[in-house]
Amino acid sequence: MKLIESKSGAATTETFPPPSISNWHHRHILDLDDFTREEIELVLEIGDAMAEILTREVKRVPTLRGKTIVNLFYEPSTRTRSSFDLAAKNLSADTINLDASKSSIAKGESLIDSLRTLRALGADVIVMRHSQSGAPYLAAQHVNTSIINAGDGWHAHPSQALLDLYTIRRHLSKFNDLKVVLIGDIKHSRVAHSNIWGMTTMGAKITLCAPQTLLPYGLADFISKCHVPDVSVEPDIESALKEADVVMPLRLQLERQQSGLLPTLREYIQLYQLNEKRLSLAKPNALVMHPGPINEGIEISPEVAHGAQSVIEEQITNGITIRMALFYLVAGGKANEA
């Protein structure tokens, strides 16, 4: 396919247009469980091309001019929604941001009816955030438009996992045999779930570190039935961190303590907070990542969150890059398969 060139001939290394996407066949981005290694690599490569645009003085290309992208958010979100919105605008798409709590959905309209309405209004891509696991799958079954899952319940958050992979790739040369440690609320974390698929597909090994109340029940069966042997559990944080290449503490929702999954935040901090002393057990240049928003002083100490090994802010910037890549792939000109 041919991309429309930006007029502002950038001084930086010209990497746009990105590589060919003729092998791309995902109409929807629902999770990474159906992505091959090559497909993930393609997203990351296109991410490189998109990153180049962000270095330009005018951060905008006309690739998606005339396309309409709807951000349909059933849950409050600042960073993810802004990130998708900026990504769409950088590609010159028209964007509509819908806060579901303020629209007709609050008046009892069903999800399918809302989506059909958006489709009738001309949406080409619907970016969906929903508190119910599986909601984007329902959407994909019933509405004739591309769906990008921006987080569904406890289930999946594929764009976050892709931006995590992209961030790791910029710092570490390869994914093979990297030790990635996820700490904390694995059970309720869609970020952890999508990262399990994405990271293991790329060849990394994942260690989950949490008390049993924050781990999914049936994890051993999950690992064998879903063929992810590179996932293991180590409830002791000191053991888990040994030889780690990437450390990712997850946001601890305060309601987890209120609903009894943890005795006190104090004990959680004692057992699972990522602090400097614990981080020193990992490899010297281990990356510290966090999907945000951070509870500073709970799952991560301020020194570590803002320390030399932290790439947390970079993750946010990379989020725009990766979401541009995803829009480009699902709406960027190649005729969508039916």
Binding site: H28, L30, D34, S110, L111, I112, H130, Q132, S133, G134, A135, Y137, L138, A140, Q141, H142, D152, G153, W154, H155, A156, K187, R190, H193, P216, Y217, G218, L219, D221, F222, K225, C226
Partner: protein, 449 residues
């Protein structure tokens, strides 16, 4: 006088009389007149003849557990549609649960259902009365009066009595009546809003799980209470291996406990929530038609349920027919209603077990006729039998007929089935209730004499 009916050359299976032979059945005036080897001749002129060569004829099926939704939820089902759907599934007697609106917690609502059944119903409908007023789990209903109105047992079904003290009192009081407490065993506190079986599939889908212990804790409590009271207890829709063990132990101690299992718990696992064999779909399905309470469990549980059925720990098969509107199901999995529309798929589904050699057809029919009849007792006449003089409730089915489930052609208003598109082998061809043909497959030809 009703027209006479002669069914010829069927394989007659009646577990109540230990009959399994090929022969004819003659129905006169709504009652079984005669069953016997070959060629019953009739002198009557006004007679209808059904040739049942190659088919199985059994007492009409009895369903201990279903939801007819009337009064209150007529958009999901009515007595008119529900009884016809049941007839299409081979049922001639069904026991409806009291979670209507208003609930069946007093004589007036039960009389209403009885009247509606008389006006609109196709088959016999028996009622289950509430244990507590408004199914609130606090004050007992007037159980004596409900028994007098004809209820076959007491249940708060989907809102099970959580207070052990109230359940204890209900059991004590029920001893006046010799009727069972029918419990939907669920510890709601532990279930905590779960939507499917707790296990790796729930983890895979990011859905909140319902552990097996939710059911087992409640069954264990009820067993302790019948030990204390001597009351009769019937466990609804058993779904776990641990539950089968608890009931087995209680039966070994000669406690008055019976139990039922549904066709879907005998055939589907929690993996069905995620993938549909009948649909080509590369994505996870999050199929709301598999959302049911208790949830679909695992292969291990199915094996234990089948063993329990075969060795008598589980007495009966009941559908838990729970029809819903499409709006109740066409939504996010977590928000969808629990329940499966089960009348019209039950025999096809169960015959699959027979064809696979996991259940023999005589045991199957016993669990659909003789055994549920024993639990209901005799106050509505002798049910589940082809004994001469008894109600002519008869089901005729072809064990080898292959068919494809099409939910849109259901008689029930509830199209919510996980079996849509499944190929079944075994189909009901005719259902006769009190001597009337209430369901007849298009392939069945009636002949006059």
């Amino acid at each position: 006088m009703k027209p006479e009916l002669l069914i010829k050359n069927a394989r007659i299976i009646d577990p109540s009389q230990k009959i399994d032979k090929v022969g004819d059945v003659l129905v006169l005036d709504g009652k079984i007149a005669k069953i016997g080897e070959k060629s019953i001749a009739s002198a009557h002129k006004d007679i209808t003849v059904i040739d049942a060569t190659g088919f199985i004829l059994s007492p009409g099926f009895i369903d201990l557990h279903c939801h007819l939704r009337e009064p209150g939820f007529e958009d999901r089902e009515t007595i008119a549609t529900g009884t016809r759907a049941a007839a299409a599934g081979g049922f001639t007697t069904i026991c409806c649960m009291p979670n209507t609106n208003p609930p069946l917690d007093n004589r007036a609502t039960i009389d209403y259902v009885k009247q509606r059944t008389e006006d609109e119903g196709a088959i016999r409908v028996l009622n289950v009365g509430c244990i507590t007023k408004g199914r609130q789990g606090k004050e007992l209903t007037e159980m004596y009066e409900l028994a007098d109105a004809g209820v076959v047992g007491f249940s708060d079904d989907g809102e099970p009595v959580s207070s052990s003290r109230v359940m204890y009192l209900a059991m004590e009081y029920s001893r006046l009546l010799n009727l069972p407490i029918i419990d939907h065993c669920e510890d709601k506190d532990l279930a905590n809003g779960g939507v499917m079986n707790e296990g790796w599939v729930a983890a895979r889908l990011g859905l909140k799980g319902i552990p097996a212990a939710v059911e087992e804790i409640s069954i264990a409590r009820d067993i302790a209470l019948i030990k204390l009271t001597g009351a009769r207890l019937h466990i609804a829709h058993v779904s776990t291996e641990g539950s089968v063990e608890l009931i087995r132990n209680a039966k070994e101690k000669r406690l008055a406990i019976t139990a039922e299992v549904t066709p879907h718990h005998l055939t589907l696992t929690d993996e069905r929530v995620m993938v549909s064999p009948a649909r080509k779909n590369k994505y996870l399905t999050y199929d709301t038609n598999t959302k049911v309470n208790p949830p679909l469990r695992t292969e291990k549980d199915i094996a234990a349920l089948l063993k329990g059925l075969n060795d008598g720990v589980i007495d009966a098969i009941a559908t838990d027919h729970a029809p819903h509107t499409s709006a109740d199901k066409m939504c996010e999995f977590g928000l969808a209603a629990f329940g499966i529309s089960g009348f019209e798929t039950s025999l096809g589904c169960l015959m699959g077990l027979v064809h696979k050699g996991q259940l023999d057809v005589i045991t199957l029919l016993s669990k659909l006729t003789r055994e549920p009849a024993k639990i209901i007792g005799s106050r509505h006449g002798e049910l589940g039998t082809l004994k001469p003089g008894c109600h002519a409730d008869i089901t005729i089915f072809d064990p080898a007929r292959e068919w494809t489930v099409d939910s849109q052609s259901f008689t029930s208003k509830g199209k919510n089935t996980p079996f849509d598109g499944y190929q079944f082998k075994g189909k009901v061809l005719a259902t006769i209730a009190a001597g009337n043909i209430v369901y007849q497959d298009a392939s069945i030809k009636l002949a006059g004499k």
